[in-house]
């Protein structure tokens, strides 16, 4: 147990963040239990799902905490596995043919390791273009060499989308650790914590505001549960949450609020774009990996859109 004491003594802000998140989860768990108790013999699907979501959050926070203990390597491994799970869900729901086998194999077995190795190597000049340039060109070549032209453009486009959505964009989260920000050395994990807390906080707060006050549907054809009240309430409170967390970032309070607003907006757009893809593929959830939440992509959709923009804004303004 001494390492916990050491960590507390070091007063690393990450420790306080995790204690804070833990406290919120304790409260959420208590509320969930109380709701279930009051529901009594009439089990409600919403309350069951809420409690499943909270239980899954405990696991996700524990996994992220474990990855943080191992620094860059841990975060890279975590997101490489997240990419693997996400890509598996994405490709499962997209139409492929036998002629796609080698293109598929290269995305899984070359694309994922290569991209995360380049991030590990901190080779910005290559990891920021490797998949969008070389991967983009390589995939149709491999597919064409197999000679099957049925729905060729459609099949290649699906795969290129999967590669960008499931590997390239999520890889920008561990890449945050490779930014050199003067006066912020050794605190890169907190940049990730800020992103994850704001983007997931925005999702959770939109859910809470939507359940409590939601009346006007926002985009019924995309996502029946999204409401204007949920969006405005969630984004506003998550932006305030981001501003309140300015002390863990290299940003000023105002800049932290701005960053949080950008993150929330992109997270929301990520959610509706990924919903549109799901509707197109005729499914409600991407998979069943995370109980109560659906699949890996259901939990990751907002991070996917927010991470690259947050990375580049931070890099442009704060890294010389």
């Amino acid at each position: 147990m001494t390492w916990i004491v050491d960590l507390l003594a070091a007063q690393h802000p990450a420790v306080w963040l995790f204690l804070g998140v833990g406290a919120i989860l304790v409260v959420a768990t208590a509320i969930g239990r109380e709701l279930a108790r009051r529901a009594g013999d009439e089990p409600s699907p919403t309350i069951d799902n809420l409690n499943q979501r909270i239980a899954a959050w405990w696991v996700m926070v524990a996994v992220i905490g474990l990855a943080f203990l191992f620094g860059l390597g841990g975060v890279i491994l975590l997101f490489a596995f997240a990419s693997f799970g996400a890509l598996r869900e994405f490709v499962t729901l997209t139409p492929t043919r036998r002629g796609d086998h080698w293109a598929l194999a290269s995305v899984f077995f070359l694309g994922i390791p290569a991209q995360y190795w380049l991030v590990w190597d901190q080779w910005y000049g290559l990891y920021s273009i490797f998949l969008p340039v070389y991967g983009f060109l390589f995939l149709p070549v491999v597919a064409a060499l197999r000679g099957d032209t049925t729905h060729f453009l459609r099949r290649v486009a699906f795969l290129q989308w999967g590669m960008m959505i499931c590997i390239f964009f999520p890889s920008h989260v561990p890449a945050l650790l490779t930014l050199d920000i003067p006066g912020y050395e050794g605190k890169g994990l907190l940049l990730i914590a800020f992103l994850v807390i704001v983007v997931q906080g925005s999702d959770v707060l939109q859910y809470v505001f939507g359940k409590l006050f939601g009346r006007r549907k926002l985009a019924p054809s995309l996502s029946p549960s999204k409401t204007w009240e949920g969006l405005v309430g969630g984004v506003a409170t998550a932006t305030l949450l981001g501003a309140a967390l300015w002390w863990i970032t290299p940003f000023s309070p105002l800049a932290a609020a701005g960053m949080a607003l950008v993150i929330c907006a992109l997270g929301f757009f990520g959610g509706i774009v990924m919903s549109a893809i799901k509707r197109d593929r005729g499914v409600k959830d991407w998979g069943r990996m995370v109980r109560g939440h659906g699949g890996m992509l259901d939990r990751l959709d907002s991070v996917i859109f927010a991470a690259p923009v947050y990375f580049h804004l931070t890099r442009y303004w704060y890294s010389p």
């Binding site: 693997f84 799970g85 598996r88 869900e89 490709v91 499962t92 729901l93 997209t94 139409p95 492929t96 043919r97 036998r98 086998h101 598929l104 194999a105 899984f108 077995f109 049925t150 729905h151 459609r154 099949r155 005729g282 998979g287 069943r288 990996m289």
Partner: protein
């Protein structure tokens, strides 16, 4: 030593199947109860019985044996070891003169001993574009001989995309195993009527096609 290796291999194979395919079970027409059953499924790859076996709860795994081709799973070498020791397969000779009677005798003996079976009534792997090959009559004869047993239709989805014919590298895609409602057995039913019903029960579990 051997049982230990067999148990470790069993864990390893099930773990690998889960890691690659994230396989999930959908008990749509029955519960995962320890009842005396014959699970009959569509057959598209060598990984099929592994997937069914992986999603069964441990107490069902212990009593469930796959019915498998003798030339692969009862020969010398690694196939034989996996077939006999790891999965305790019921070997079926697909080449002999009296193969229907021999197969019936082997399956009946296993059922009489109290085992549940995993059976692929297409008789061979389906590598074509048809969702299901014509069912062989063995399923019918077995149902007539054991009308008190649950004959549970099982649809294995997506494994043919994980491992297309002629490829050696599996693509990790999500697979699912859907268990349907047990067939009602009427001993007066004609062979073809029964097999048609079994076929419809299987196809009813098949999810929407995702091949381009």
């Amino acid at each position: 030593m051997r049982p230990l290796v067999a148990r470790a291999t069993r864990r390893l194979i099930a773990g690998f199947a889960r890691a690659v395919t994230g396989v999930s079970a959908d008990w749509r027409g029955c519960r995962p109860e320890p009842r005396h059953r014959v699970y009959f499924a569509n057959h598209a790859s060598h990984g099929d019985f592994v997937l069914i076996w992986t999603v069964l709860p441990p107490e069902l795994r212990r009593v469930t044996r796959p019915v498998a081709a003798a030339e692969i799973w009862d020969g010398p070498g690694i196939g034989g070891f996996i077939g006999r020791q790891v999965f305790r397969a019921v070997p079926i000779d697909r080449k002999g003169v009296d193969r229907l009677n021999a197969a019936m005798a082997a399956m009946s003996a296993a059922l009489d001993e109290g085992a549940s079976l995993i059976l692929f009534p297409e008789g061979t792997r389906n590598t074509g574009d048809e969702p299901l090959l014509p069912l062989r009559s063995g399923l019918f004869h077995l149902a007539m001989a054991f009308p008190q047993i649950d004959f549970v239709p099982v649809w294995i989805d997506n494994i043919s995309r994980v491992m297309p014919k002629g490829e050696f590298l599996p693509i990790p895609l999500l697979c699912s195993v859907t268990f349907g409602e047990p067939l009602a057995i009427d001993r007066a039913e004609e062979r073809n009527a029964f097999l048609d019903r079994a076929r419809d029960a299987l196809l009813a579990l098949k999810p929407e096609d995702r091949i381009a």
